[in-house]
Amino acid sequence: MTTPELLAVAIAVLLAGAAASLALARRARLAGWVSTAFVAAAAAAIWVVVVRAFSSRAEGEATVLALPDLGARLSVVVDPLSAFFLAIVATIAVVATLYSVDYMTHFAGNTLAKFYPILLVFFAAIVGVLVVSDFLFFLVCWELMTLTSFFLVTFERENAASQRAGWKYFVITHAATLCMVVAALVLWRQCGSFHFGDLLAALAQLLATRPLLAHTVLGLLFIGFATKAGVLPMGDWLPDAHPVAPSGMSAALSGALVKLGIYGLVRFFGALLPASAAAVGWGIAIALAGTASLFVGTLTALRQTDSKRLMAFHTIGQIGYICLGLGVGIACLRTAPTLGALAIVGALFHAANHACFKACLFLGAGAVLYRTGERDMNRLGGLAAAMPLTAGSSTVASLAIAGVPPLNGFASKWLIVAACLLAGMAQPLFLILGLVAMFISLATLASFLKVLGAVFLGQPNPERRVSEVPATMAAAQVVLAALCVLLGVLPFWPLRFIRDAAAASVPIAVPSASELLGGPWGLAVTGGGAALALWSPLVVAGGMVVLAFVAYGLQRAGGAGRREVAVWTGGEEHAAATVRYAASSFYLPFKHAFAGIYPRIRWRVPAFPGGLRRAFDVDAWAYRPAARLVERAAGAVSRSHVGVPQVYLLWIVVGAVAVVAIVLGLVG
């Protein structure tokens, strides 16, 4: 089968799965298993497409449908960049659906007819977004994705918070989409086509002839993509919408949906800017937006006590890292291709890594929610013993997101920060941004130590009986955690393909994978023939394993015992739950220092001017007075109807005389 056929099969399978799960909606678990089977089948087809796109058997563009009047055609092409994101989406989709099989059973009052079918259409829309090469149909898929995710976010019908969050999400992202519509139309006016290639050519030409208009278009596109990606301040929808969605959907939102904003940025900005004179300016702008996001997002996350909200803020932060890498890459690619490619590759790698660990973290938070009904970390604690798999996966993912070696978060952050620091030699701003990113990694670690400490460690609440989540939910988490380890220990393996994706999307030749990233067992950044930085995860991981065995051996050899004692509360008697070190007690100085970093702006809707309202009410000042006038005139005329025959006769005579007089006057 050709690539378009495979994609058509994947989308048809997803839609068929939507229909099947709609029919089975009354039987929650069965609907879940059926959906998982369909998603898995579609994911298999997509993986074939991905493998094919990265192999030499890549195929050209295929046109399905054309609208000649608009210069739009539904054409499909899978290049390595699309394939890279397709791989992320296919993986996350399977895991999130599998997880939902048992998770969704605990929503009693809500029918699953509005979960699985919409979820599967949502995945189909994402596939559409990634494969079409025409902006009009891109927008159609993009908004289909938004509207399906809106219904998934507002799944809990009676929860006012989820309704508000869903509304905010849909309206903000719809506004962003309209910005993209304007941008596309301006370019379409120049070239009469919506094809990506034509639009980019028109934009490049516009940059040369009318730079102001071109930068406006770029700004509109940036707003469109960055809003979806969750870059602040447009990403303000994200901390509201992620927590209220069912956890499988939160994972899909953070793992897949926000990545598409990054996809759009790479597809347009990465493909156009590096070769143009505007590269440095826009590169710095994107990097600054990213740094602002990672700074504000992560420090705000530090203040949160709602586990899923905290993770949503970290999504903003991690997207900030990706944008930082992207910005540095775009700015440097022309002058220093190796450095720029390194930054872009690091950014894309971080996108994949973020999908793994953030999805895992949301699933972990969901697992805790499933068993305890709590998202408030102040009321949780001591779950590690009862939920070992969840606790273990969440720990791995937490360390990964914080960038602890040898996990995957470290590898990608290492690339991004290395690129920032090296680019800082020429452009000191990037040095500062890189240092900020490094400092914020620490804040991320602190934030997740809080999560691990408050949720999994400490004394369990004896009144609450908690057990490990069902196998499907545990499996989903363990798979993602294993991916975090795997991608971290063997970073060169995925990075080889990511280099291909980056190379396919930028207009400047990118060095080969081994030139760019060093050997197969580690990473090396070289500059001017000398190795500038090295990262050997296997050595570090091996060393850590050896050290762990040594420590364990020493402990055994020394016969050091462990003793467990209750928390000492000065002799007072307290329940374990009340003397726990609660989540809100962490990092108070930080919270005070950065209290106003995420301001809540209250919009005041301006009152509608009363004068204008009266002017619009044409009835009041025109029609009703006119009608009354007519009525009064009719009344005046009717007064002549006195009901006396003699008077009427008199009128007739007078009238006859008048007529005769007029006729005589005219004739004479």
Binding site: L67, D69, L70, T111, A113, L136, L139, V140, E143, L144, L147, F151, T154, R157, E158, A160, Q163, G166, W167, F170, V171, H174, A175, L178, V181, V182, L185, V186, W188, R189, F608, L612, R613, F616, D617, V618, D619, A622, Y623
Partner: protein
């Protein structure tokens, strides 16, 4: 063959109307449903048979005009633009009749209705269907005008159907305002006939410059009155006193479309419209869009909110037509497509409101909440309708609105970007508000008013399902069809 089918589509509902008026009680609705179904099937067949061509036949001649008028008057015309209106009128007309068969019943908690008065209802409804088909297939101004005024009368009778003082006043107001607009139409026809000796649409092009502008402005005033555009926008919200299926059909999908259809017809037949008139039409359309928007936020009655949304969307069609008159054929096609797509979306919304009122007895935004719990199908249809009317892809209005704004972009100078910005701004605000209202009414905690049993009866639900599908697939057959307009 085709011509007689077209004539049959006018005569059949008119005949059925007469039958429905005299037969007893429940039988009337079966007569009406059958006739409407046959007409809908015929209309689809005709549109397929006459796909992409302009089919025109003269049927006899009027003796008193023989020799005076340069072309015979009675005839039929089926072209892509007429097909669009014909499909809207007949398909949604059938669904409305189907819906009405259950809506007008004793089980209706808003307006319990015995079988007694129903013959009158179906008489006017079918007569309206016949006259609307007549509007869609009229080949000249005179014939169009006759059917046009017939729709006005039907509208008056149906708005006043319940006979309450409010509905009587609303019906009278609608009659006076649209009737006054009709006088301008008549004036335009008189001038045209005196100056050119013809009632043809294309005869406008033979008028000398100043007269042409005057006639066009008179036609424009007639269209504004019919389509409830500023400054004649005040009758439509009051007309919501009509039974809800009537509001869905006459005052959202069909009759008000006659106004914009007239202007589209004029522009299709006469590409050379004086720019000043086109600018006037476009400017008033923009004013209408924003005036209607300004009323959204103070409505509590769902039907009145939808009425203002209808006014705004008719403004969109008018805008597209005006841009078409300025030379952008894409916008003109978008306007024609919007007639179709908006018809499906808005009819779905109105029929949902009717279903909610049927089951709960209320259509107040503040009193209703959490209706989706017991009426999932209605809630789905309402959300689909909101997304369709607001222009969220992949639903219908996205494509039509997109074609209108893209058409605006085609024009030279600053008009395009300004129009696009204004239109998209309105689009966003109205989308946000409609979504908010949909969430308020259908989601959240269920209020006592909304504690009801279930979705409406199957006939009403079926109409909702078909309209939902229509919202999704309308562009699929609408876009190829409108490509033939303006060739």
């Amino acid at each position: 063959m085709l011509s007689w089918m077209l004539v049959l589509m006018v005569l059949l509902p008119a005949l059925a109307a007469a039958v429905a008026a005299v037969v007893k009680g429940a039988f009337a609705r079966w007569v009406a449903a059958t006739a409407a179904a046959v007409v809908a099937v015929l209309a689809v067949w005709c549109c397929l048979a006459g796909y992409g061509v302009s089919y025109r036949v003269t049927l006899g001649d009027l003796p008193f005009l023989a020799g005076t008028a340069s072309a015979p008057v009675p005839g039929v015309l089926l072209d892509p633009l007429g097909c669009i209106l014909l499909l809207v009128v007949t398909v949604i007309g059938f669904l409305t009749v189907l819906y009405s068969t259950r809506y007008l019943s004793a089980a209706n908690r808003e307006h319990p209705e015995g079988p007694a008065g129903q013959g009158r209802y179906y008489f006017w409804l079918l007569l309206f269907l016949a006259s609307m088909v007549g509007v869609a297939i009229s080949p000249n101004f005179l014939q169009l005008f006759i059917f046009w005024e017939m729709t006005t009368v039907c509208s008056w009778a149906l708005i006043s159907y319940y006979g309450t003082p409010r509905s009587l006043a609303a019906g009278f107001k609608a009659l006076v305002m649209t009737g006054a607009g009709g006088l301008f139409f008549l004036g335009a026809i008189c001038v045209l006939f005196v100056k050119t000796g013809s009632f043809e649409f294309a005869a406008l092009g033979q008028l000398p410059g100043d007269w042409r502008a005057a006639v066009l402005v008179m036609l424009l005033i007639a269209a504004w009155a019919k389509a409830a555009q500023v400054p004649f926008h005040t009758w439509l919200p009051d007309a919501m006193a009509a039974p809800t299926p009537i509001s869905a059909y006459l005052h959202a999908a069909a009759m008000v479309k006659a106004g914009v259809y007239l202007m589209a017809r004029v522009v299709v037949a006469n590409p050379e419209v004086p720019p000043a008139v086109a600018m006037l039409a476009g400017a008033m359309a923009l004013v209408t869009i924003f005036v209607a928007l300004s009323y959204y936020f103070i409505q509590d009655d769902l039907k009145r909110l939808l009425a203002y949304s209808t006014i705004a969307n008719l403004g969109y069609v008018m805008l597209g037509v005006a841009l078409g008159a300025l030379g952008s054929v894409t916008a003109l096609r978008g306007a024609a497509l919007h007639i179709l797509c908006h018809g499906f979306g808005k009819a779905a919304l109105f029929l949902c409101v009717g279903a909610v009122a049927y089951v709960t007895g209320s259509r107040s935004i503040s009193a209703l909440a959490g209706v989706a719990r017991t009426m999932p199908l209605t809630a789905t249809a309402f959300f689909v309708g909101v997304l369709a009317v607001a222009g969220v892809p992949p639903f219908g209005s996205f494509w039509s609105k997109f074609m209108i704004v893209a058409g605006a972009m085609r024009l030279a100078g600053a008009i395009g970007p300004v129009v696009v910005t204004l239109v998209l701004f309105e689009s966003l605000i109205s989308f946000a508000w409609l979504l908010h209202v949909a969430q308020k009414v259908f989601l959240g905690e269920t209020t006592p008013v909304a504690c009801v049993n279930s979705d409406p009866p199957p006939a009403m639900s079926a109409a909702l399902v078909v309209l939902m599908l229509g919202c999704l697939v309308a562009p699929a057959f609408g876009i190829p069809l409108v490509q033939w307009i303006g060739r």
